[in-house]
Amino acid sequence: MRLLRLVLSGLAVLTYAATGRTDDLPPAGRPIESVVDQFVDAKMAADKVTPAELADDATLVRRLTLDLVGRIPTVGETDAYLKSTDADKRTKLIDRLMASTAFDRHQAIQFDVMLNGELARQGRGSVRDYLTQAMKDRKPWDQIFRELMLPGDTDATKAAGEFLRARVTDADKMTNDVSVAFFGVNVSCAQCHDHPLVKDWKQDHFFGMKSFLARTYEAGNFVAERDAGVVKFKPIKGPEKTAKLMFLTGAVVETDTLRELSKDEQKKEKEAADKKKDKTATAAPPRPKFSAREKLVEVALQPKEAEFFSRSIVNRLWHRFFGSGLVNPLDQMHSENPASHPDLLKWLARDLAAHKYDLRRLVRGIVMSKAYSRDSRYSSESRPEDKYFAVAKLKPLTPQQLATSLKIATTDPKSFEGLKESEFEKRIEQAEQAGRGLASLIAQPTDNFQIGVAEALLFSNGDRVAKEYLTDGGGTLLAAAKAAKEPTDAVALLVRTSMARPAGDDEVKALTAYATERKDRAADAYKQILWALVTCPEFRFCH
C-alpha cells in the first residue's frame, strides 16, 4: 500500500515535470469529469449559488441521446435505461451511443455547422462528407485542421478542400472564418481599424492572418497556392504597410516570399486556374516550395502558440453540450472577455493537447460530469446566471435533430424492438434520411435564437408534416394508438413515444378527456393529441 502511494506520488511529480506546470491546476491524468465538477462546484460554492437537482433518468437518457447521436431515444431505449439497476448504466449508455455510426454522423453535422455556418450543406464532395469520414476514422482535431487547411488529393482528404474553395473568392472572409472556426477569434473588426475595445487585436493581426491565406486560388477541382504574395494595408494613420506572416499571438514566420508574383509565376497560375474549366483533373497542382498555409498550420500548433487552437475547440465543445460556452460569444476569446472558469478552460485545453486532440475523450468527459446532468428546472425565483452551469440550459433542436426525432416520435415503437444492433442502426439511419426534407425547411439555431412564426405555420398547416409524419398508416404510432383497447392506453402510448418518458397521471386524464370528447372521430383526436405533443416546447428543446 505504501509502495503504491509512493509510486503514485512519484508519477505526479513526473507529470508535473513533464508539463512544466507552474500554476495550481489539478494534475494531468485526472478524469475530465471530476475536474469539470471540481471547478464548477467551487465557483458555485464561492458565490453561494445552489445548483438545480440532478435530472431524472428519463431526462438524462433523452439528453444524452439527442446530444450524442442527434435524436430522441426510442421507447425501448428509455425503458431499458429506467429499468436497469446496473450501477454503471450511464457509462454503458454513453459508450454504446458513442460507438454507433449515428454518433459520427451527428457530430459531423455539428462540426460542419460550426465551421461553415450558412455554407454548411450535405452532398457528395462536401465538407460534411469529409467530416463524417473523419469522425468515423476517429481523426484528432489537429489532423482535421491540417487536412482542411492543406487538402490533398486522396479520396479521404479531397472533400476537405471544399472548406477553402467555398471562400476562395473572398480572402477577407476566408481569413475571418478560419480565425473564428479554429481560434475563437473574430478579427474582422481589425480589418478597418485596430479593435476599439480589445487591445489584443491590431490591423497587423488581421492582415497578418490574411497573408497566410491570401495566396490561395482555385484550380480545377482543387485549391492551389501561389509561390509568393504580398498583402498591403493602409492604417488609419501613417503610410501603407506590408503585412507579415503573423499569427494571432504575434508570432511571425520569416520569409522572402512577401512579393508580387513574377511574370513566369503569373503565367503558371493562369495555366493552373484555366484548368478550372477542366473538372476531370485528378491531381492537385504541386504545393509551392514555401507554403504560407502550411506555415499557418505549423505555427498555430506549436506549443507556445497552440493555446488559441486548443482553448477554442474546448470552448466550442463545451458550448455544444451545455448550450453556452465558458467564453461567450464563441468568437470573442480574448483578454478583455475572460472565461467564466479560466482555470478549468486552461486545464481542459492542456488535457486535450496532451491527449493528441482526441475529441471523443473530451466529449465523453463532459457528458460524464455531474454539471452536465442537472435539471433544467429551477424552483426558486432567483435563477442563477448561465455562467454557473447550475441549471441545464434549454437547447433548441437542430433541424436534423428535430426532423429525425419527429420521425421516431411518430413511428410505432414496436418497429424498433427485437432488432439486431446493426438492424437497429439501419432503421435509425432511415429515419434520419426521411427527415432531411423537413430539416431543410427549419432554421439552424444560433446564440439568442428566435423561432419565427414560419415554423409554427409549417407545423400547423404544412402538408409535409401532416402527410409524412402525422399519418396513421401501417407501422405508425397513430396506427398503434388506434389499435389500443382503451383511450387511456392510447394516450399513454402517444406520450411515452413522443416525449420519451412515462406519461403523468394528470396528463393522461386531460388527454383522455380530449379524446373522449371526440369519440366520433377518435383517429383524428389522436392525431391532434400527437400534434400538440410534438409542437410543445418539451419536444422542441433538448432539456
Binding site: D170, C189, T535
Partner: protein
C-alpha cells in the same frame, strides 16, 4: 439632432402604463419572453409603437432607368427619345412616361444623386436592401427586417414583413433577409401565389379542432415551462400564439374584399394587385411590405422596355398615393422606390442601357419626408453626380430618420454594438420634415 424630429407625445409612456406592464410581466407564466434581450420584445415596447409607421417598398428589380423616370435628360446625346414634362412642383420635370406621377410630385422626394458604386446584380441588390455591405463575419438585416423589428409588435396578429416577388428574374439576388436578427424577423415570402404558404388550414381538420388542438398544445406547454426559462422557448410559444391571428389575416391577401372602384384604381396587372394587397396589409398594421416588379435589366431595347414598364409603375404608384391619402394614411405609410442600381446614360449598340451605379435615382414618399423636394443633381448628360451625392448608407439613414427610428441606434451581436447604419453615416436632413 435626431431627437428633434421625434415628437415627445409619440414616445411618452405614462408611469401608470409602465407600472401596469411590469406587474403584468411578473404575473405571466412566460416571464422570460419579456426579458430584456438583444431581440427584446416587450409590452412596453408595444406601447411605444402605437403610432406605428409602415413602409411599402416598390422594388424595381434589375435596375430601372433614372433617365426614363425621375431624372430625364431631354435633348442630351444620352437622353433617348422621351420628353420631360413639368410637374405640380415648379421647376421639377420627370419623364413623359409618368404623367400621373407628374400630378403628384408634391408628395414625393426624389433622390437624384445616388452613387452606390456597385453594378453587379447580386451584390448590389444585397447592398440596396441593407444600405451597406455585409461584413466577413456578420450578416446585416435588410430594410424590411429592421422596420419589422422596430415597428412590429411581439403579439401582432399580422405578419411583420411580407414580400411579393412573383417573376423569377433576379429573385434569388434579392431575397428578404433578416441577417443577424434571425428567424423571428424573417419575411413571409410570396413567390408563386398571392396567398402565403401555410396560412390556410389543411382540409383534414375542422376549424374548431384546429383551434382546440392549439389550446391543448398551450396546456401541455404550460406544464413544461414551469420552472424553466429561455428566450428561445419564449419565441417558440410566441410563434404558436401568433398562428391563429396570422391565419385570420388571410383575407388581407384577398382583393375581392375591396370595392370594384378601388380595384379599378390599381388596375388589373399583377403589380397593381399586389400593391393593393400591400395597402391592405399596411392598413392592418403590417410594418413592411415589399412588392417587387421585375425585370428592368434593359441591356437591349431599353426604350421599348421602359415604354412598357414605366407607365405601369406610374399608374400603380399614383394609385397607392391617392388611396393612402384618401384613407389618411400618407403620414404614417412610406412608399419607397428602389432598384439595385440605375442604367448607363450611354446607349449601347443594341439600343440598351447597361448597369450603372454612379448617378441614379430613388424616391421616398409619405411619413416624415418633405414632399416636392429633389435632392441631388447630375450633370447634363447624367454621367455623374455634381451636387448632393448620396450613397446607400445615407439613403437608409434618411429612411430610418423619416420613420422616427434613430439611425445611430445600436443592436447587439454578443457584446458588440452594431448601429443601424455604419458609424459616421448621416441622414439627409434637407429632405426630412
Amino acid at each position: 439632432m435626431f431627437h428633434k424630429r421625434c415628437t415627445p407625445g409619440e414616445h411618452a409612456v405614462g408611469r401608470r402604463a409602465f407600472l401596469g406592464a411590469s406587474t403584468a410581466f411578473a404575473a405571466t407564466a412566460f416571464a422570460d419572453m419579456t426579458g430584456l434581450n438583444v431581440l427584446g420584445s416587450s409590452a412596453l415596447a408595444a406601447d411605444l409603437k402605437k403610432t406605428q409607421k409602415r413602409v411599402i417598398l416598390l422594388w424595381l428589380a434589375g435596375g430601372c432607368s433614372q433617365l426614363e423616370t425621375w431624372d430625364p435628360k431631354p435633348g442630351a446625346s444620352t437622353g433617348g427619345p422621351f420628353r420631360a414634362i413639368p410637374t405640380d412642383v415648379t421647376g421639377v420635370h420627370i419623364s413623359e412616361l409618368m404623367p400621373q406621377m407628374a400630378q403628384r410630385m408634391k408628395h414625393v422626394c426624389v433622390m437624384r444623386g445616388l452613387d452606390t458604386k456597385n453594378g453587379d446584380h447580386g451584390s448590389a441588390a444585397k447592398l440596396m436592401m441593407r444600405g451597406r455591405r455585409d461584413e466577413a463575419g456578420l450578416k446585416y438585416p435588410d430594410l424590411g427586417a429592421v422596420v419589422a423589428r422596430e415597428m412590429g409588435r411581439a403579439d401582432s396578429k399580422v405578419p411583420d414583413y411580407v414580400t411579393f416577388y412573383t417573376q423569377t428574374e433576379g429573385r434569388s439576388f434579392a431575397p428578404g433577409d433578416s441577417g443577424f436578427l434571425g428567424a423571428r424577423y424573417a419575411p413571409m415570402e410570396l413567390t408563386t401565389n398571392n396567398i402565403p404558404e401555410y396560412i390556410r388550414k389543411l382540409d383534414g381538420i375542422s376549424d374548431l379542432d384546429h383551434k382546440q388542438r392549439g389550446e391543448l398544445r398551450d396546456l401541455l406547454g404550460k406544464q413544461f415551462t414551469k420552472g424553466r426559462q429561455s428566450e428561445t422557448m419564449g419565441s417558440h410559444n410566441e410563434a404558436y400564439e401568433r398562428v391563429r391571428g396570422i391565419m385570420a389575416s388571410e383575407s388581407l391577401f384577398d382583393i375581392s374584399k375591396e370595392p370594384q372602384k378601388v380595384r379599378d384604381r390599381y388596375g388589373p396587372t399583377q403589380f397593381g394587385q399586389q400593391a393593393l394587397i400591400a395597402r391592405r396589409l399596411v392598413e392592418a398594421g403590417v410594418p413592411f411590405v415589399r412588392v417587387a416588379r421585375a425585370w428592368w435589366d434593359s441591356h437591349g431595347q431599353n426604350f421599348e422596355t421602359h415604354q412598357e414598364m414605366v407607365p405601369e409603375l406610374d399608374h400603380v404608384m399614383a394609385a397607392l398615393i391617392d388611396d393612402l391619402k384618401d384613407r389618411g394614411l400618407l403620414n404614417d405609410v412610406m412608399i419607397v422606390t428602389l432598384s439595385e442600381f440605375g442604367r448607363t446614360p450611354g446607349i449601347n449598340s443594341s439600343l440598351g442601357r447597361d448597369h450603372f451605379a454612379s448617378a441614379w435615382s430613388s424616391t421616398i414618399t409619405g411619413c416624415g419626408i418633405k414632399g416636392g423636394s429633389v435632392y441631388g443633381k447630375t450633370d447634363d448628360k447624367g454621367n455623374k453626380v455634381v451636387a448632393e451625392q448620396v450613397d446607400g448608407g445615407s439613403l437608409f439613414a434618411t429612411i430610418y430618420a423619416a420613420l422616427g427610428i434613430n439611425p445611430e441606434k445600436n443592436y447587439y451581436v454578443g457584446s458588440r454594438p452594431i448601429p443601424l447604419v455604419n458609424p459616421g453615416v448621416q441622414a439627409v436632413e434637407e429632405v426630412l420634415l
